[in-house]
């Protein structure tokens, strides 16, 4: 089952009666924005070079561009997030980054109190997000942590 909005796609798969997977896919890195960023950085570096006549500026710019790209792909750009629900075992959240890195968290069923839709104020509007309420080990009634899904 697939649903598409302008840049985010949701996909649901049911493996068996007790196991379901939901994955949210984001737009991949566009060539346009990448080349625009690189060109602007290099133009600025060239202008500085013309001002200062120091060739270190150019090599520093190349270095910064490479490091920035690697950091962006590895730590910032999320390609796909998926939620795997296995009955009586738990809920597993995976986020995979553009560089291939995968970050997984597994929450056991005994720690999950409830899955709710929570609202928050972000900038000038109110957004709704899905989150899991975790049970506090000392007090079974209260909530110890709120884990937002699909960041």
């Amino acid at each position: 089952m697939e649903e598409r909005e302008d840049c985010i796609a949701l996909q649901c798969r049911q493996y068996s009666a007790s196991c379901r997977e939901f994955s949210v896919r984001c737009q991949p890195v566009q060539l346009r924005s990448l080349s625009a960023a690189t060109c602007s950085v290099w133009l600025a570096a060239y202008w500085l070079f013309v001002l200062t006549q120091n060739s270190m500026v150019l090599s520093a710019a190349i270095f910064i561009t490479l490091i920035g790209l690697i950091v962006y792909l590895h730590f910032v750009k999320i390609d796909q997030e998926s939620l795997l629900v296995i009955a009586s075992l738990g809920i597993q959240m995976t986020s995979s980054y553009a560089s291939g890195k995968e970050n997984t968290t597994f929450i056991e069923m005994s720690r999950v109190k409830d899955v709710v839709i929570n609202e928050a104020i972000y900038m000038q509007k109110v957004i709704y997000y899905l989150c899991i309420l975790l049970r506090d080990p000392l007090d079974p009634q209260s909530v110890s942590e709120v884990v937002p899904l699909f960041q």
Binding site: Y15, S16, A17, S18, C19, E21, L84, I86, A87, S88, L89, Q92, T94, T104, T105, F106, E108, S110, R111, P137, L138, S144, E145
Partner: protein
């Protein structure tokens, strides 16, 4: 609908048909399979063996079902397997069946007293037995605080990891053992062992005893009365080198103790201290070899005296500037000259002292540099102490300036109260009104005026020397921070996380394998390693120094009032 979970070790997927042996957890409806017993076997011997294992490991190991791995379904085999269910009665009885060519297994449960009329769903979870046995689970958050809720809230994963870890005895038999029972588990190809590890275990006992003896000798020398006389013990407490050496001595004592580590955190702590010490000593020896090559120590000693001279000359220039018209402010001439000349004489004394010491500097430095072989941290502490000794005159100036300023501020505040007709009541610790005589008021006002107009001069001297002192304190603080970092970094844990990441587990992750309708759901369970940040946080070694006790607010208040500041206090020192 009740879901039954079967945890199956991936090493047994290719084993031949036999009995499934493991632990059944009724509260969570899950079965942890630990090994497979092969035909031929005698049921009595199997039961006896299992009861022995149960006694040793405290894990309720029993026969949970049958496992058949054959080319195609044979009727006789399946009947035989069902009959086995009557010999080893277990509720529920699990029958796993695999056809050699297909990936999908079939699993059926036989229950004598089915509690629910609906069909149970079965989930097959594959796990890597060796990794699960060796790894240590770190539960998220503060689950260690709850001791009374352990029975109900204990996580399933913790039970699983615990079960596999405790069943080490079961894994000791391999296929080459001549016994009545043939098992298959992760070690059935041969028990894993390493000659180097065994040799080191044997060698470590006499080495530990020798080390303990040496350390007790050294610590008894340190604690002897000779070193406890007043001037010496004051010096020892001020030198950071002694603190660092004491700290390292404690570490060595922890490593060389004969008691085996009881649980995992203690073992990791010992290993961390050991690796950290080794790295420290290696870096120190590297530093030493670099220093002693090309006679760098001689160069260092040669440049030390000119540097001290230069610092003194700069201070003299500064004082001359203060005695003149600093930054356009007009000073009180007489007080200015007195303070300036006093400090100049002090510097002159200091310079003569340094020049007196100069022939011996190189030799002292040479021998002190040798102590770098005790570790890089010791070398850094010595550097910090040398800086403190070289800038001792700045410290003295700061103390003089601060005391003078402090006296002035107290005098001013008390006379200001007199101005307004109030007095400080020492008994009640508050300000009370008081009627003064006329001559008291007259003298008080006079003194107040004198002190007030002399305030800028003293304040300027105090400001300048406080800034210099703060500079030195900041440099020393940076060195201490570096020493702390080397001391408390858990190198062994970081290396373990890098090379054997399954040993430190933050949790598990599941992957869904290929499915086929009608067959049970298959999942692969892998270990999710701990992140580097949490590794460092969990296994940090405690250090002896604490960060500045004063917040910024109280520091500024102390500076304003002229109280002396000691920003880098060590733990265990008495507060004044």
């Amino acid at each position: 609908m009740v879901v039954l979970k079967v945890f199956f070790p991936s090493c047994c997927s290719s084993a031949e048909s036999g009995l499934l042996v493991g632990h059944w957890i009724p509260e969570q409806n899950s079965a942890v399979i630990l090994a497979v017993v092969h035909f031929p076997f005698i049921p009595v011997q199997v039961k006896q063996y299992l009861s022995e294992v149960r006694q040793v490991t405290q894990v309720n190991v029993s026969v949970l079902g049958t496992w058949s791995n054959c080319k195609k379904k044979e009727e006789s085999l399946s009947e035989f397997l069902e009959d086995l269910g009557t010999i080893f009665s277990h509720e529920p009885w699990i029958q796993l069946c695999k056809e050699t060519d297909s990936k999908f297994w079939s699993c059926s449960i036989i229950q004598k007293h089915p509690s629910t009329p609906k069909e149970d769903e079965i989930i097959l979870v594959y796990y890597d037995q060796r990794k699960v046995m060796l790894s240590h689970l770190h539960p998220p958050g503060n689950l260690t605080n709850s001791t009374d809720h352990k029975a109900e809230d204990a996580s399933k994963l913790a039970i699983l990891f615990d079960t596999v870890a405790k069943s080490k005895v079961l894994f000791m038999k391999d296929r080459y053992d001549d016994g009545p029972i043939k098992l298959t588990h992760w070690q059935s190809e041969g028990v894993e062992a390493s000659i180097i590890v065994e040799l080191m275990k044997q060698a470590s006992i006499p080495v530990c005893m020798l080390l303990t003896f040496l350390l007790s000798f050294v610590s008894s020398v340190c604690k002897s009365r000779v070193l406890k006389f007043w001037p010496l013990c004051f010096i020892w407490s001020k030198l950071s080198t002694c603190e660092q050496l004491g700290h390292r001595l404690e570490h060595l004592q922890v490593i060389s103790s004969n008691r085996k580590a009881q649980n995992q955190p203690q073992l990791m702590r010992k290993a961390n201290i050991f690796v950290s010490l080794l790295a420290d000593v290696a870096l120190g020896i590297l530093l030493m070899s670099w220093l002693y090559r090309k006679n760098r120590i001689g160069h260092l000693a040669d440049t030390l005296i000119p540097v001290a001279d230069h610092v003194a000359k700069e201070l003299q220039d500064l004082l001359q500037w203060l005695m003149g018209v600093p930054a356009g402010l007009k000073m009180n001439r007489a007080l200015d000259q007195v303070l300036g000349r006093f400090f100049l004489y002090h510097i002159h004394l200091w310079i003569s002292y340094i020049h007196l010491m100069s022939p011996f500097i190189e030799m002292i430095l040479w021998y002190v540099g040798l102590s770098a072989c005790l570790g890089l941290t010791v070398a850094l502490s010595i550097l910090s102490d040398i800086i403190a000794l070289l800038t001792f005159h700045i410290y003295c100036f700061y103390v003089y300036g601060a005391r003078l300023y402090c006296l002035k501020i107290y005098g001013l505040s008390s006379l200001w109260r007199l101005f307004r007709g109030k007095k400080w009541n020492v008994l009640r610790q508050r300000v009370d009104s008081c009627s003064y005589d006329l001559d008291q008021l007259f003298i008080g006002t006079l003194l107040f005026t004198i002190l007030l107009f002399l305030l800028p001069t003293t304040a300027l001297y105090y400001l300048v020397f406080t800034l210099l002192r703060l500079l030195v304190v900041v440099v020393q603080g940076l060195i201490h921070l570096l020493v702390d970092l080397i001391d408390s970094l858990p190198l062994y844990s970081i290396l373990l996380r890098l090379c054997r990441s399954y040993r430190l587990a933050a949790g598990v992750k599941f992957r869904v394998l290929e499915q086929k309708t009608g067959k049970p759901l298959r999942l692969l369970m892998q270990i999710n390693p701990l992140s580097y940040g949490s590794v460092v946080q969990t296994y940090r070694l405690p250090t002896y120094s604490c960060y500045p006790k004063d917040s910024w607010g109280s520091l500024c208040k102390k500076l304003f009032l002229g109280e002396l500041i000691y920003p880098w206090k060590h733990k265990g020192e008495k507060q004044d």
